[in-house]
């Protein structure tokens, strides 16, 4: 077992990173004076991992939505569901599946040890039969229908479906009613045995907790996993977008839009510096402080729902601007024109300073939250990044760094605008 202590002088905080003998990577982030503890047991496995090879064997293709289905099913074991076990400890438990990870989590103020035992136990105890798999199709089918009615969800997936031609980020995380009908216990076991290997997983605990407490439970509860080489297979994705515009009619009070900029993804996930520079640049371009935001507000194009996101994962990279507008196409034109002009005239040094300070302040403030810490540690582990290196990269960013990032981050020829409006 290898234990590393990672410190930040500016935050006067530290956390531990442990490579456990079972194969699992464990992070423990103690927060002095906190009542609560937040724990995540996550696997680097999400909706985009639908084609893969293990140890150089045959290519396996599985039905869409299976990672999310597996998340639902793992909550059940032969002797009842995990929620009823947590009911005995008082912990508040949940789980979620995203494009590239599946996380099981709880937060608690009492009985931390018992709750952690439950978490490590049920995630390591798959139990799938024909009957239980069939039963879940009802509930997940209803969840899919609920998302079909959600304009905010539809506007994003319509954008992704038209931005990407082959990459599975274009597929709805929960799959479709048809694709989940193909799911069998055998498929679930195949995916479970591939991705729920402890070498592909992480445990992150933040808050009122000590390292030894976590390690003692880990020693007792974790079943050693044999390392296997997992190769995720993605078809080649073209540089350009599939279609620049997509529209859907739904009952809405105000049209919604997503404007996506596609950037070519590298072999690896982006590093701490690229992430920091991207966040500073996005703040500079589109925060409520920016010239662009003000212009669009004065022209009555956007409202307070306007937001932006740096969107990044294995094989996909880009930026999404979203919000409500009575004229989404004008919003899109205004953003693109502003960015093209900014590339020519360069970044203002005062605007840069403001953007850097605000991004730094946000990163520091976020460290109040055990929820945020556990989630970002999970995400950073899966993307090979380190938390304090990221915060330092914000503090040390220069205007030259941001200018260089601007030259590659936005290609106004590679965008997709998605709109939801009334009939």
């Amino acid at each position: 077992m290898d234990i590393k202590e990672i410190k930040s002088a500016s935050l006067s905080e530290k956390y531990y990173k442990v490579k456990h003998s079972s194969g699992l990577t464990i992070y423990v982030y103690p927060k002095d004076g906190y009542n609560s503890t937040y724990a995540i047991f996550g696997t680097k496995y999400g909706s985009i991992n639908n084609t893969f090879k293990v140890d150089g064997g045959e290519i396996v293709k599985v039905p869409d939505g299976i990672a999310h289905y597996l998340e639902h099913k793992l909550f059940e074991s032969e002797d009842g569901d995990a929620f009823s076990r947590y009911a005995k400890t008082g912990a508040n438990a949940n789980a979620y599946t995203s494009f590239d990870k599946t996380c099981y989590l709880f937060s608690c103020t009492d009985n931390f040890e018992e709750s952690l035992e439950i978490l490590l136990d049920f995630v390591q105890s798959p139990y799938f039969t024909k009957e239980t798999v069939a039963k879940e199709q009802g509930i997940i089918g209803q969840e899919i229908k609920m998302y079909d009615d959600s304009p905010a969800w539809r506007v994003m997936f319509n954008m992704l479906m038209n931005m990407y031609k082959t990459h599975p980020v274009r597929i709805d995380i929960a799959g479709t009613v048809e694709s989940i009908a193909e799911i069998t216990p055998e498929y679930l076991y195949t995916c479970y045995n591939t991705y729920y290997n402890l070498n592909n997983m992480v445990l992150c605990v933040a808050g009122n907790v000590e390292l030894d407490t976590v390690l003692n439970i880990a020693d007792r509860m974790l079943k050693k996993s044999q390392y296997h080489e997992i190769e995720n297979i993605f078809e080649e994705e073209p540089d350009g977008v599939l279609a620049p515009y997509v529209e859907q009619k739904l009952p809405v009070g105000l049209p919604l839009f997503n404007l996506g900029f596609k950037e070519k993804a590298g072999e690896k996930r982006v590093d701490e510096k690229t992430l920091a520079y991207s966040e500073i640049l996005l703040f500079l371009i589109a925060s409520s402080t920016s010239v662009l935001y003000r212009k669009m507000m004065d022209e009555n194009l956007i409202n307070a729902s306007f937001s932006y996101e740096f969107f990044e994962g294995e094989g996909f990279l880009g930026t999404i601007f979203s919000g409500e507008s009575r004229d989404p196409e004008k919003v899109s034109d205004t953003i693109k024109q502003y960015i093209d002009e900014l590339k020519v005239k360069g970044i203002d040094s005062e605007e840069f300073e403001i953007a850097k300070r605000a991004t730094y302040g946000d990163a520091i403030s976020a460290m109040n939250s055990t929820d945020h810490i556990a989630n970002i540690l999970t995400d950073f582990d899966f993307s090979d990044r380190e938390l304090y290196t990221y915060i330092d990269a914000i503090a040390n960013a220069t205007i030259e760094d941001i200018t260089e990032r601007l030259s590659t981050m936005f290609d106004t020829e590679k965008t997709t605008l998605s709109v939801i409006k009334n009939d």
Binding site: L11, D81, S84, G90, I139, D148, A152, L254, T289
Partner: protein
């Protein structure tokens, strides 16, 4: 821990401090409580938005935003909500603690001054707010109102509450109504502002590590320059439902929504902890009766949960359900309530709910906003309790108390948002 210390600085104006060194940020919020009335609700809501847009010192929105960003991304915001028949306008500012500034900036002092500037010294033109500023915020408030329709879960809940409380002040929306927002003039907003300063009850809450006495002095001085004439604030309680009100709206949806509204007869300032627990046992957790039985066992609803509005003694059950299952789901939900009324509650259910509520009270106080919210939500309660005191009250509730509260439930309103089919007979 997280104890509140309270000081009255002017008639019906209290400065509350929660000293906390655990966080990297600090927060000051000022909440004005006014009677919720049809004539003034829209003016108050719009006024609160105009106030945080600019101030005399920073008359331009972008200038003010830049100042905040420069203070390490400090945030200034306002919001409006209903607490019983009272409209609450909250103005808050938060930023990183002085300890984490990159230079020796004293951020806490700057933030206190800025919040006071916004509330007491707005950007005015000829005895009214600036009309361009008002237009911008009006447009945004109208957008917000129109977009409430986008999320059908929220839309259905609001419709149900409006129907249920149509003859009560609580039936007025937190922002009044769309027409009054459209017709409000800069002079109306100016009057609303003056009325707020003189007649609202104010609660100021400071959460942070830096010395709060500087901020307290600033507010003390400002409030004592104003002639105060606080209004009385009351909330009407309907203890028992008469006939069941039914409402339905058809819409092109895949999943229908059903909301059930109940009266409980237990509301603040009486002790409501037993009623809150009754609601949690029924549908407040992932091990509640509604979750385990209606959602998991019967697969009738994707979501099915209950919430309790303790100032009004109202319990709401929200569910997302397929159209053909609406009646079945309603029967199943009412069946769970009947079971509780007959005493069908296990000791394990009581114990699990107590632990879950204790967990919520305790974890809530691990965030700056959570602490503020914990105290703000209690300003009309019989007494103001720390999180630990709340936990003690929870633990004192008995199964008999819960059964007694369940027997006070009377069904008042059923509202459904029904997904309709197209000509092919398929749900669209």
């Amino acid at each position: 821990m997280s104890k509140l210390s309270r000081k009255e600085i002017a008639p019906s104006v209290a400065f509350n401090t929660v000293k906390e060194s655990r966080f990297k940020t600090m927060r000051i919020s000022v909440t004005a409580y006014l009677p919720l009335k049809k004539e003034t609700a829209a003016h108050n809501a719009l006024m609160s938005l105009v106030l945080t847009r600019s101030c005399n010192k920073y008359p331009d929105f972008t200038e003010l935003s830049r100042k905040l960003s420069y203070l390490y991304g400090a945030s200034l915001s306002s919001g409006f909500m209903k607490i019983g028949d009272v409209q609450a306008l909250t103005f808050s500012i938060s930023g990183i603690d002085d300890r984490y500034a990159l230079n020796d900036d004293v951020i806490s002092k700057e933030l206190s001054d800025l919040l006071c500037d916004v509330i007491f010294d707005p950007f005015l033109k000829d005895g009214a707010f600036d009309s361009t500023e008002c237009e911008q915020e009006r447009r945004q408030l109208i957008d917000m109102i129109d977009s409430e329709f986008n999320e059908k879960r929220v839309y259905a809940k609001n419709k149900a509450l409006s129907l249920m409380c149509e003859s009560e002040a609580f039936g007025i929306k937190r922002y009044g109504d769309r027409e009054s927002v459209l017709s409000a003039t800069p002079e109306d907003l100016y009057k609303a502002w003056q009325n707020m300063l003189s007649s609202a009850r104010f609660e100021i809450i400071y959460v942070g590590d830096s010395d709060s006495s500087i901020a307290c002095d600033v507010f003390d001085k400002r409030f004592n320059e104003i002639k105060r004439n606080p209004q009385k604030l009351t909330t009407d309680i309907i203890k028992e439902a008469q006939d069941v009100k039914c409402g339905n709206e058809d819409m092109e949806l895949s999943q229908s929504k059903m909301i059930l509204g109940f009266r409980t007869a237990v509301a603040e300032p009486e002790d409501t902890m037993a009623a809150r627990m009754m609601c949690a046992v029924l549908g407040g957790t992932a091990h509640s009766k509604l979750f385990c039985n209606v959602r998991e066992k019967l697969s009738l609803c994707y979501y099915c949960s209950s919430s309790y509005i303790r100032q009004k003694g109202i319990m709401l059950i929200e569910s997302g359900v397929e159209r053909e299952n609406i009646e079945k789901a309603k029967e199943a939900i009412l069946g769970e309530i009947k079971a509780m009324q007959n005493g069908d509650i296990t000791d394990e259910e009581i114990k699990a709910t107590k632990m879950s509520m204790a967990n919520a009270f305790n974890s809530n106080c691990d965030t700056v906003g959570g602490i503020s919210g914990h105290y703000l939500s209690q300003m009309f309660d019989k007494e103001i309790l720390t999180p630990q005191e709340c936990v003690d009250r929870v633990n004192a509730v008995t199964k008999e108390d819960v059964i007694r509260c369940a027997n006070m439930l009377t069904l008042d309103t059923v509202f459904t948002l029904t997904g309709v089919t197209d000509e092919k007979g398929e749900e669209v």
